[in-house]
Assembly symmetry: C2
Homo-oligomer: 404 residues x 2
C-alpha cells in the first residue's frame, strides 16, 4: 500500500484529532456525529490514538437520557512546544501544550553580549519553562522564536536586529536547534504578534488584518486569508520603509526608513524638540499633552497623521478588514483615537482600527500559535497538501479561561 490508499485514514485521523482538540472532553459518539464518520471508524481511531498516548479516557457523561458515554481528552503533555519572544531588553519563554494551553511564562533581561550568549540564554529559559511545569524537556518537539528583525531562511541569520549584536552573522536557527535539540523556527516578532491577535486577540474575527507595532521603531505584520505574509525574503511588513514622513531619497533613508525616521520614538521626540525647543522622551510628551502642552499635542497630532497614512498605505494595498495598533506607543488611546478621526480624511474606505488586545504578550501567543499549528501538522497531517488542523477558536479558548 502506498500513499493514496492510506490517505482516507489520515484524513479521518486529522478530523478526529481536530474535533478532540476543539471539543474535549468528548465522547466517541459525539465525534462521529461531528465528523460524519461512522461510530466504529471513530472507535478504531480512538483505540489507536489512545494506544499511542495522544488521548485518554477522562470521565463519563451523565444526566441525560441513554447510556453514559466515555469521554476522551487530549493528553496535553504528550508533546509540547516552546514559544519565545526575544526583545531588545528582555526575553520571555513559555510552553504551550497540545490542548493549546499556554503555560509557565518565564522572563529575563536579554543578554547584552548578543550572539551565542543569547542563543544559550534562550535555550536555558526554555528548559526552565519546561521544568517549571514539571515537564521533561524531551516532551518539547519544536521551538518558535520571535525576534526583532528579518530572519533569512536560507542562511538562518537574522538581519536588521540591531539590539542583538552578532545575529546577522551566525546561523541562529541552526544554533538554536542544536542547543535545544529540537527543530526551531525563527520568525519576526511583529508577524507573530499579528498571528497571536488573529488567534485569540483583536483580530479573531477576521482573516485579513494588519498589525502595526509602533514603539522604538515601526513594524507591521500582514495576514491575508488567515495566513501570514512573509514575502520572498521574510521582509514583508517593513513599514518603516514606506516612502513618506521624511524624504525617502535622502541617503539616510536607506538605513532607517523614511517613515521610521519620523514615526519611530526618536522621530517623535525630535519633532517635539523642533516645535517646542524642549527635549523629552515619548512618554513625557504624552504626559505633557495630557497636561495641556500645546506643542506636545501638536506633536501627537502630527504623529497620528503619519500613523493614519501608514494605515492608509496598508489598507490601499491589502484591503484588510482590520488594522490593529500595537507596541508601547501604538496602543496609546491618544493615538488610536486620533487615527480614528484622521483616517477617514485620507482614505475613502472604512477600515476598522483597534488597539491590540494581547499587548506585550502578542508575540509570545503568536509564537505558540505558529508552533502548535506546525506541531499539529507534523504529527497528524504529515504532508497532506492543504490539510490543516485549525487551532481552537477564540471563543473556545475564552471558555477555557485563557485570558488575553
Amino acid at each position: 500500500m502506498n500513499d493514496v490508499s492510506r490517505i482516507s485514514r489520515r484524513i479521518a485521523l486529522c478530523s478526529v484529532m481536530e474535533t478532540i482538540v476543539h471539543c474535549a472532553p468528548i465522547s466517541r459518539a459525539s465525534i462521529a456525529k461531528q465528523t460524519g464518520l461512522s461510530k466504529q471508524t471513530i472507535s478504531e481511531i480512538a483505540r489507536q490514538l489512545e494506544e499511542e498516548g495522544w488521548i485518554r479516557e477522562t470521565g463519563r457523561t451523565s444526566g441525560h437520557v441513554g447510556r453514559t458515554a466515555v469521554t476522551y481528552d487530549i493528553v496535553p503533555d504528550r508533546a509540547v512546544i516552546a514559544a519565545v519572544d526575544l526583545g531588545g531588553t528582555k526575553v520571555r519563554a513559555a510552553i504551550a501544550d497540545l490542548s493549546c494551553q499556554v503555560l509557565s511564562d518565564v522572563e529575563e533581561p536579554t543578554d547584552k553580549r548578543g550572539g551565542h550568549h543569547v542563543v544559550a540564554q534562550i535555550a536555558r529559559l526554555c528548559r526552565q519553562a519546561a521544568a517549571q511545569e514539571g515537564l521533561d524537556f524531551s516532551k518539547v518537539r519544536l521551538a518558535v522564536i520571535g525576534v526583532p528583525g528579518a530572519p533569512e531562511s536560507a542562511t538562518g541569520r537574522v538581519l536588521m536586529a540591531p539590539n542583538i549584536p552578532g545575529w546577522d552573522s551566525i546561523d541562529v536557527t541552526a544554533a538554536l536547534s542544536q542547543e535545544l535539540g529540537v527543530e526551531s523556527i525563527v520568525e519576526n516578532d511583529v508577524n507573530l504578534a499579528a498571528r497571536g491577535e488573529h488567534w485569540i486577540g483583536a483580530g479573531a474575527d477576521c482573516d485579513d488584518l494588519v498589525l502595526i507595532a509602533l514603539g522604538t521603531g515601526i513594524g507591521g505584520g500582514v495576514m491575508v486569508g488567515g495566513e501570514l505574509v512573509r514575502g520572498v525574503s521574510n521582509a514583508a511588513g517593513e513599514l518603516g520603509f514606506l516612502p513618506f514622513g521624511s524624504d525617502p531619497f535622502e541617503p539616510q533613508s536607506l538605513h532607517m526608513g523614511a517613515l521610521e525616521r519620523s514615526l519611530g520614538s526618536e522621530g517623535i521626540a525630535e519633532r517635539y524638540k523642533e516645535l517646542s525647543g524642549r527635549t523629552a522622551d515619548v512618554k513625557a510628551i504624552f504626559d505633557a499633552a495630557a497636561d495641556g502642552d500645546k506643542e506636545a499635542t501638536k506633536t501627537l497630532d502630527e504623529t497620528a497623521r503619519l500613523l493614519a497614512r501608514a494605515v492608509a498605505s496598508v489598507a490601499a494595498i491589502t484591503n484588510p478588514a482590520k488594522v490593529i495598533l500595537s507596541g508601547s506607543i501604538g496602543v496609546r488611546s491618544e493615538l488610536v483615537e486620533r487615527v480614528h478621526a484622521l483616517l477617514p480624511l485620507c482614505f475613502p474606505r472604512p477600515v476598522s482600527v483597534e488597539a491590540s488586545a494581547l499587548g506585550s504578550k502578542g508575540a509570545l501567543i503568536g509564537a505558540a500559535a505558529v508552533g502548535l499549528a506546525s506541531l499539529h501538522a507534523a504529527l497528524w497531517t504529515a504532508g497532506m497538501q492543504g490539510a490543516t488542523i485549525a487551532l481552537p477558536s477564540a471563543a473556545i479558548m475564552r471558555e477555557r479561561g485563557v485570558a488575553a
Copy 2:
C-alpha cells in the same frame, strides 16, 4: 459509501488529470510513473475519463524498445471557458479550452451606454468567440470578466468603474450569469493581469509579485504565495490611494487618491504644464522628452520618482520577488529604466522590476487562468479542501507555442 472513502479515487483522478493536462499526449504507463499510482488504477481511471469524454486516444508511441503505448490526450473542447477583458474603450473576449489554449480573441469598442447594454455586449462577444471556433456555446461552462473597478461580491455590483456607467447599481454578476446561462466571475482587471503574468508572463518564476498598472489611473494586483490578494472588499491593490504624491488630507484625495492625482495621466500632464506652461498629453510628453525637451524630461523624472515610491511601498508591505510594470504608461522603457535607477535610492532591499510581458493581453490571459483553474477545480477536485490542479507551467505553454 460516503465522502471519505471515495476521496482516494478523487485524489487519484485529480492527479491523473493534472498529469494529462501537463504532459499530453502521454501513455498510461507514463502516467503511472509520474503519479506513483499503479498501472491498473490508471487504466481504470483512464477508462472512466474516456467514457465521460474528457480524454481520448490520440496515437501510439514508437521508436523505442518494447511494446508501443497508446497515448491519451485531453478532449480540448469537452468544456471551455470564456475570458473577457472589459476596458473603458474596448471589450475583448476569448475562449480557453481544457488543454489551456487561449483561442479566438474577438474585440469591439465598449458600448458607451453602459449598464445592461454592456452586459449584453459581453454576452454577444462571448457567443461570437465561441462560434468563431466552431464551438456550440453550450460547451462554455464559466465566464470570467475582468473589469476596471472593484466588484463587490455580496451584491454583484462593480464599484469605482467610472467608464462603465450604471455598473455600480446593478448586479452585474447575476445579469451576466443570466444572459450567458453560465456561472460568471467578475474580477478586477489589474488583478487578472497579475494572474496572467504569474501564469505565463514576466512573473512566471515567482509566487510573490505585484503588478502595477499605470495608464489613465494607477492600479495594482498583488499576489502572495501564488494566490491573488483580494482583500476583504475586493479593494486590495488600490495604489491610487497611497498617501503621498499629493496631500492625502485634501478632501479631493478621497475621490481620486493622492497618488493617482499626481501619477495618473492627468497628473502627469498637469505637472508638465506647471513646469513648462505647455499643454500636452502623456504620449506627447514622452515624445518631447525623446526630443530633448528639458521640462518633459523633468516631468518623466518626477513621474518615475513617484512610481519608484509606489514600488517601494508595495515592496515594504508585501516584499514581493518582482514588481511588474504594466499599462500604457507603465511599460514605457523610459519609465522602467528610471525606476531601476531610482528605486535603490529610496528602498534598501533588491526588488526586481520589469515591464509586463503580456502587455494589453494580460487581463485576458489572467481571466483565462482564473477560469481554467476554477473549471478544473469544479470538474475534478469538487470541494476537496486545498486540492488544486496546477495550470501547465510557462515552459510547457511556450513549448506548445503559446506566445505572449
